[in-house]
Amino acid sequence: MKLQLKGVTKRFGTFTANDQIDLTVQPGEIHALLGENGAGKSTLMNTIYGLYSPDEGEILLDDEPVRFSGPGDAVAAGIGMVHQHFMLIPVFSVTESVMLGYEPTKGPGLIDFTEARRRVKEISARFGFEVDPEAMIEDLPVGAQQRVEIIKALSRDAKVLILDEPTAVLTPQETDELISIMRQLKASGTSILFITHKLREVRAIADKITVIRRGKVVGEATPESTETELASLMVGREVSLTTQKEPAQPGETALSISGLSVVSAQGKTLLDDVSLEIARGEILCIAGVDGNGQTELTEAILGIREAAAGTITLDGTDLGPKSVKQRLNSGIGFVPEDRSTDGVIAGFSITENFVLDQYDQPPYSNGVAMKHEVMRAAAAEQTSRFDVRLGTVDDPISTLSGGNQQKVVLARELSRDNRLLVASQPTRGVDVGSIEFIHRTLIEERAKGTPCLIVSTELDEVLNLADRIAVMYRGRIIGTVPGDTDRDVLGLMMAGVPAEEAKAQAATHHTVLGEADAEAEEQA
């Protein structure tokens, strides 16, 4: 089915999220929509899917204009969508999830479970998915959940499939499987519109690329374009994608964690016997699919989560009996993974957020009194060093964009003498142009001799920053490998394969992304 957008415009109040978007997806084409966070990709997808109605312009399916009053209409017209945050209900079974809204029934509204299961099995068999129709969604790994979403779309005979950031939560191997599914679908005539901000994938998968920036289509490209070309089209200026760094000069061991375990209130093991060491002047990256214990590890180091077993020592001092405040004051810089809930207080000013964890420490205070002028001066100085785009430092931090808020958090944590830096997802939601700057700043922090623990689910980021990489899987460290380890090996480790085995397996098979890496290296 051919999907065509003509002059689609969507406004929220005075803000124009989509401005005169023109786009054509041919039948059996994989069309990538490339753009930064906040460029208007998701708004556009939700408009196509009937969740929003466009203020101007029209949507055509096979050259017929269509109007959707809700997602039900879009589905009926043959549009399927896999949302970035899966629209699955954790306590439902796979069968229940797939049939929801389109239940086969018998008798007085009772569901025909046999028929529903048969449909799930039929579609999974057709595309070689191995999904147990009886499994509960919450027990499935994210890759399998995504396949459930795809089955859901296909069970409604989707002719146009929209995938919103489908690879954000996948390992390279899972991404590979997704690519092969997409190619199978393409061969069977399904059109795919695939939204992403990841340049490498776009080139590996797409037949055609449309780039949008600030709600407007800024150009079209082919998979032959280089990553740098795509990046500058997406950002609107030249950007460098990799950060040059000197080899690490590790000093003595600073942070040492041994046998650390954390158990949830429900008795579930979240961290299982984790041991690691970080030396001065070294960056250790924690790689892994989201939700494998990374959050708990950083929280245990900061002390907001109690350890069930094990010790954490920093420069020879046991952190166990220390409170969170003592740990922060002793020089632990902490960048939380979700800045909006844990990093900043939206209603506070930029200055107040800047001193959030040091407001009672010199030079910002003196006895009971806070020194507002010192705070404001420091905030102004550091935010300008971190290139935060702001009006004045007295504005509420909520007036800043997500990327600029993140820079304020980093400015706060990096503007003092740290004995340890713990940063989770330091560039989440940050525009491509700022990523390089943040990476450079982190490497500078390493050069000052600070041991850095950086948690990231983005393999690009891990490969860019790490001196050593520890991969976490189900609360365990599955292995610690050098910083230049092959992406495919890391991907297998992220799925729970130990390092040696992962190396052997990766040597026999390269994923599409792994090959793209090798190619990029050859060019460089």
Partner: protein
């Protein structure tokens, strides 16, 4: 494609030791074993050792107008209580063993323990009193007292499963009781009252869902306000119209008992379960229907989807607001019908605030029953039984003050709501307005 098959295999190999690790690290849960031991010791030291020697406890297991009548059962009090206490302590020891080895025991364990404990208590309470313990009255009383609780719990369940917290069950019961009494009195027919009652509950439900869905008002606050509103309105009408012209508006009407031929003749079970008014039989039908429909019907699946993740429901074309409105009004009708029990169900005229907090106990029964019709039914029966026990024992006279026994439902409620029953999982989106 090669790793597509190999990767999951290797994952499975590593998953195994991980399960063991989880078991090793899980803290031992002592609260149930400790409770059993304490209750078992109470049974042994108080219920058994305080029994005067040679005392006999008499149980009466049939009523005079039964088809088959049995003689009263006489048991030696001390010996029986001793055996029951030892069995309880054995179950407690089993629970300790299970806790140490982290084995999960099924629901039968607390149920069996509870039955033994209650029997031991009855043996003690009736020891040497010369009065019979009327088992049929005790059990049928338990069922009767559970009726408004069960209706209320089903109402709460349907509302919360679709994402609307309903604190106004109390008000819905009271409104149902009021309208049932007034309609029954005006038409001099208890059945008309029964038909009218659901409309009163549905009206309160409609107000709740209107504020919750249309204006996104905090549902707990709306619920509390509606309770106050219903109490105020019914009390106002009671003290004005209903008292001035009681002959017309507030005479007593009672639903007749309809013994089910055959079934009601079965010893014990017959008089306890099958010799009731149509309201009780309707309750059986509603509980049975809900226990199937919530999990196996299209209506139930969509209701649960809306209560767990409304956006996901919206993306498959389910109208979230409409689902919530319809289900909350339907739930209100169920509670309203339950309210009829207070007036036409018991053959009483309407009295001020006659629902007396039962709506809140119903809410607790729903939580204790984990938002599941069968569970809520059992929890409501437990509350009804403890009330019935208190009433029965206060008539035959016991060593324990009956006020203490009447406290029991509330004590259980506090433990239930404080999460003593373990991990309860409410519908994820309950109380959260869905704003596109």
């Amino acid at each position: 494609m090669s790793e597509q098959t190999t990767a999951p295999e290797t994952t499975a190999v590593h998953a195994e030791p991980l399960e063991q690790a989880e078991a090793r690290l899980q803290p031992i849960r002592w609260k149930f074993p400790v409770t059993y031991i304490l209750l078992g010791l109470l049974s042994l030291l108080v219920f058994t050792l305080l029994i005067p020697s040679g005392a006999v406890t008499q149980f009466r297991v049939s009523t005079a107008n039964d088809f088959i009548t049995f003689d009263a059962i006489n048991v030696p009090s001390f010996g029986t209580a001793l055996v029951l206490s030892i069995l309880q302590l054995a179950l407690a020891a089993w629970a300790v063993y299970a806790a140490v080895h982290r084995i999960r025991l099924g629901a039968w364990h607390p149920v069996l323990f509870g039955i033994l404990f209650v029997l031991a208590f009855l043996v003690y309470a009736g020891a040497g009193r010369g009065a019979f313990i009327p088992m049929v009255t005790l059990l049928s009383g338990a069922l009767m007292l559970s009726v408004p609780l069960i209706f209320g719990a089903m109402c709460g369940l349907v509302g919360e499963r679709s994402g609307i917290i309903n604190i106004a069950i109390e008000g819905q019961l009271l409104a149902g009781a009021f309208l049932a009494a007034v309609a029954a009195s005006f038409f001099t027919s208890a059945y008309v009252g029964l038909l009218a009652a659901p409309f009163a509950g549905a009206a309160v439900g409609a107000l709740l869902v209107w504020f919750a869905v249309k204006y996104h008002v905090n549902q707990i606050i709306v619920g509390v306000v509606l309770n106050v509103l219903v109490i105020g309105l019914t009390s106002f009408f009671y003290s004005t119209v209903l008292t001035q012209n009681a002959e017309l508006w507030n005479t007593r009407q009672q639903l007749p008992r309809l013994p089910i031929p055959g079934l009601s003749q079965i010893p014990i079970i017959g008089p306890v379960l099958f010799n009731h008014t149509i309201l009780v039989y309707l309750m059986y039908v509603i509980v049975f229907a809900l226990s199937i429909l919530v999990f196996k019907s299209r209506w139930g699946l969509r209701m649960r989807a809306v209560g767990e993740h409304p956006k996901a429901a919206d993306t498959v074309g389910i109208n979230v607001a409409r689902t919530r409105v319809i289900n909350t009004i339907l739930a209100g009708a169920i509670a309203g019908m339950g309210g009829a029990y207070f007036t036409v169900g018991q053959g009483l005229a309407f009295g001020q605030e006659m629902s007396a907090g039962q709506g809140f106990i119903a809410l607790a029964a729903m939580i204790l029953g984990r938002w599941n019709p069968k569970g809520a039914l059992l929890a409501a029966l437990l509350f009804g039984f403890s009330t019935s026990l208190g009433q029965t024992l206060s008539t035959i006279g016991t060593p324990v003050p009956s006020e203490m026994l009447l406290m029991l439902p509330y004590v259980i409620t506090i433990f239930a709501v404080a999460g003593f029953v373990g991990r309860v999982r409410p519908p994820a989106a309950e109380g959260v307005p869905y704003i596109k």
